[in-house]
Symmetry: C2
Subunit: 447 residues, 2 copies
C-alpha cells in the first residue's frame, strides 16, 4: 500500500475512512492531520471555525489509534473527524452561540449529540461558526465555492467546512432552512432527519416544535452513517420518539425497484429563479414514469405564517433574556424578531400548531406510502455578499411538518455555483428518503 | 344458585360481574336491567344522565348474551355497563358537550375510548351530565349522598352515577380536578392515569397538554380493569405514549412489601378544612414507618398560575368558536375565561410549559423510585348548593405534571359526607399507584 498524501485523504468519504482506519490502512491521526492540513490551507478565506485546537484534536485521534492497537471494539465513527455547530454544548470547549453575549462561555456538559459522537469514537475537530443564536444574522463564514457569496445559514460553518473538505462530517441544526439551504449553497449533502430522531439536549433552543438536528457530508452514505450514530432517546428531550436504525443500509443497498417521486412546486415556487425552475423541471422530466407531479392545495401557503408564529414565539421565549440583558449587543434583526414574537398571542400560537396538524394529515393523504417529494432546496445559487444567508422559502413547510429532507448537489446555477435538489419524505420514513436519495445520486453518477 | 335480586346485582363490583357473566351465573341482560332499575329509582333526584335509552342498552346486552351462547371469545368488559361523559363522542348517540350550543349534536364516529369499550364487549349504558364544555359551570347533577350538595365536576354525572350504583363503571376526563374531585365528593374511586395513557381522539379538547381521560368505579380493581381496556395508542392523539398493561394485576396482587408513602401537604394545604387536615394527618401517622413527610419547595406554589396559563389559553382556543357564534348562550364564567385566555401571550404560555418541565424534574428528585404521594383529594366534603362544583386546588399540581392520581373513599367529613384520600405516583408508574391504592384499601377494610 502506498503512503497516501494528506491531500488525497481529505478527499475521501467518511465511510471509506472508517473502513480504512478499522483495517489499519490509515490511522486516525493521519486522517485528522489531513483535514487539519486542509483547514490550514482554506480556513483563512472561509472562516468556518469558531473554535479549533489542532493539538487537542490530534490528541483525541492518537487516543483512538491507541484503542485500536489495544484491541478495543471500535465505534461506528472510530477515528473520524466531525465538526460541530457552535450552539451545541461541548464540555470544556467554548460554545458561544454566535453572540458576543456568550463570549467565553464554556459548558460543563456535552450535548447529547456530542456524547454520542464520543461513544461512537469520533474525533471532535472543532466548533463551527453559526449565525447569531442560530437565527438570521450572518457571521464571518464565506462560501468555499466563491468567497464573495454567502454559505447560507444558520449552520454556515458546518456546511462550509464540509464543502471545503476541512472535515468529512459536520453537525448542524434546522428550525427553518438552516441545514438544507447551506447544503444547497455549498454543493454538499445536507440531511435533516424526521423531527424527534436526534435528541436536542444541550443545544441552544430556538423553537421546540421545529428545532431539528441535521448533518452535512459529501455523500448520502456518510450522512446516514452520522445520523445512525446520533439517533436515540434522551430524558432531556421528551419529544424524541423511536429512532430509526441502520439508515446506512437504506443508503447503501440498491433497491429492488426504482423509488417513486412526487414533483412538488410547493408554495415557495414563485421564489425560485428561472434557472432553478427549469433545472428541477428537467430533473423531474428525466425521471419519467418514476415521477408524477403533485400540486399542494392553496391552504399550504399559510404554512409560512404558521411557521412564523411558532418560530418567533420561540425566539422571544428563549432569547428574551439576551435582549433584557443587553439589547444593543443583538443585531437589529434579532431585536425586531424578539419584539414581534413578544406580541404574539397564545391562542394564535396554539392555532398555528393545530393548523400544522391539519397540514400533516393533508399531506399524508396526498402522498403515496413510500412516495418521495422532489422540490428545489433553495431558490437558486448562493446570493452574492455576506449580508444575508439567503431565502429559506423552500425549507419552511418541511420544517413545520417535521418531515425528513435531504439536499443533493445535483443542479448547477447560471454562474456555475451549486444548487440542491431537495427530497422530502413522510415523517418517520427516513429510510425511504435515504434509499431514494442514494438511488438518485447513483443515477446521476454522483453516488 | 338462587335467583339474585336486581338490587343485589347492582351492588356488586364490575370484576365480580365480569366473572359471573363469563361463568353464566348471571346474564349481561340481567346485569344491565339491574342497573337500569337503579337508574329508575335514583335518577329523578340525582340527574346523572344526559342521555339514556334503556331499550338500546338492553339490546346491546342481549347481543352480548347471544355472543356468549354462540361461543365467541369474550372481551375484557363483556356485558358490563359503562356510562360515558357527554363530551365523549358516541356514533349515532347525542353528544352535547354540556352546552345548548351543541343541542341535538349527534357524532358520526365513536371516540377512541368508546370504540375500545365496544371492542371489550361493554354495554354503553348512557351519556352522563358534564358541566358546560367540561369546564367550570355546573349543570343539573346532584350528589347522591346528599342531593343538596354538588357532586363535583366537571365529570359530575359519571361520578354520581357510579356512587348511586346506577352503573358499575363510568368514564370522565380531567384537565384540572374533574375526576379526582367528584370522586372524592361522591365517595367512590376516581382514577386519572398518567398523561398520555388513554388516547383522547373524539373527545372535546380543553387544553391539550393537560386533558386526561379518567375512570370512576367502586373499587381499585374495577378502575384498573376499565383503564386496561382503554389504554392504547391512536394516530389521532400523538401524545399518547406506551400504555401500561395488566394494571389489574397490580391492583389484585398482594405486594411482597408494604408500599412506601410520602405525605405531601402541597401548596393547596391552606385550602383544606380543619377536619380534612386532621383526617389525612391521622392516616399518614397510622402508616407509621411506611410514610415519611415530604415538603415541596415554595416554587411549587407557582404551579397554579402555570396551570391557569395553559388551561385558559386552551379554553380560548377550543371554545372561542362558541363564543363567536353566540356568547350569550355561554355562562358568565365561560365568557370571562375566554376573554382572559385570549389576552394571554405566547411567550408566557411557553414559559408555563417550561416551568412545568422544571417542576417535573424537581419532583422526580424529591420522590423515591416507587414512593407514592399521600395528600387530600379535595379540601373537604362536597360543598352545599349546586352553584359551584367545588375547589380543585388539590388536583391542579398533579394535572399539570401529568402524574397518575387516584381518590380513595377513606375519609369522612364532619357532616358524614365522604372525603377522598388521594394517592399520586410518578408519571408512568400507574402500576405502582394502583398497587399502593389497593393495599391501602385492603388495610382499611375497604378492599
Amino acid at each position: 500500500m502506498s503512503d497516501p498524501s494528506s491531500s488525497e485523504i481529505a478527499d475521501r468519504h467518511a465511510l471509506d475512512l472508517r473502513r480504512q482506519i478499522a483495517a489499519g490502512e490509515v490511522s486516525a491521526s493521519e486522517v485528522t492531520q489531513a483535514f487539519l492540513d486542509r483547514v490550514a490551507a482554506r480556513e483563512a478565506e472561509v472562516h468556518a471555525f469558531a473554535w479549533l485546537d489542532p493539538e487537542r484534536a490530534l490528541g483525541e485521534a492518537g487516543a483512538r489509534d491507541d484503542q485500536r492497537r489495544e484491541g478495543w471494539p471500535l465505534g461506528a465513527l472510530h477515528g473520524i473527524p466531525v465538526a460541530v455547530k457552535d450552539i451545541i454544548d461541548t464540555a470544556g470547549v467554548p460554545t458561544e452561540n454566535g453572540t458576543p453575549l456568550d463570549a467565553g462561555r464554556i459548558p460543563d456538559r456535552d450535548a447529547y449529540v456530542v456524547s454520542a459522537l464520543r461513544t461512537a469514537g469520533a474525533v471532535l475537530l472543532g466548533k463551527t461558526v453559526t449565525t447569531e443564536l442560530g437565527a438570521m444574522h450572518p457571521r464571518a463564514t464565506r462560501n468555499p465555492h466563491h468567497t464573495g457569496h454567502t454559505p447560507g445559514g444558520s449552520s454556515s460553518g458546518s456546511a462550509a467546512a464540509v464543502a471545503a473538505h476541512m472535515t468529512p462530517l459536520a453537525i448542524g441544526t434546522q428550525t427553518n432552512g438552516s441545514v438544507i439551504r447551506p447544503a444547497s449553497f455549498c454543493g454538499i449533502v445536507g440531511y435533516k432527519p424526521s423531527y424527534g430522531v436526534i435528541p436536542r439536549t444541550g443545544i441552544l433552543p430556538q423553537a421546540r416544535p421545529l428545532d431539528t438536528v441535521g448533518v452535512f457530508a459529501r455523500s448520502v452514505g456518510d450522512a446516514a452513517m452520522l445520523v445512525d450514530a446520533l439517533a436515540g432517546r434522551d430524558d432531556g428531550d421528551p419529544v424524541a420518539g423511536t429512532p430509526p436504525t441502520h439508515l446506512i443500509d437504506a443508503a447503501l443497498t440498491e433497491p429492488d425497484e426504482a423509488p417513486v417521486f412526487a414533483f412538488v412546486r410547493s408554495p415557495a415556487w414563485d421564489n425560485a429563479e428561472p434557472a432553478t425552475k427549469s433545472a428541477i423541471e428537467a430533473l423531474a422530466a428525466e425521471l419519467g414514469p418514476c415521477c408524477r407531479e403533485v400540486e399542494l392545495p392553496p391552504h399550504f401557503a399559510m404554512a409560512m405564517s404558521a411557521h412564523t408564529q411558532i418560530a418567533l414565539a420561540g425566539i422571544a421565549l428563549h432569547y428574551g433574556r439576551y435582549y433584557d440583558r443587553d439589547r444593543d449587543a443583538l443585531s437589529q434583526e434579532m431585536r425586531e424578531a424578539i419584539d414581534r414574537g413578544r406580541t404574539f398571542k397564545a391562542v394564535d400560537y396554539l392555532g398555528a400548531l393545530d393548523f400544522r396538524d391539519k397540514l400533516r394529515a393533508d399531506i399524508g393523504g396526498l402522498l403515496g406510502t413510500h412516495e418521495v417529494i422532489l422540490t428545489p432546496a433553495a431558490p437558486g445559487e448562493a446570493p452574492e455578499g455576506l449580508g444575508s444567508t439567503g431565502n429559506p422559502a423552500f425549507n419552511t413547510l418541511w420544517s413545520l411538518l417535521g418531515m425528513p429532507a435531504i439536499s443533493l448537489p445535483l443542479l448547477t446555477g447560471p454562474r456555475g455555483l451549486p444548487v440542491g435538489a431537495q427530497l422530502v419524505a413522510r415523517r418517520g420514513d427516513d429510510a425511504g428518503l435515504l434509499r431514494a436519495a442514494a438511488w438518485l445520486m447513483r443515477r446521476s453518477g454522483r453516488g
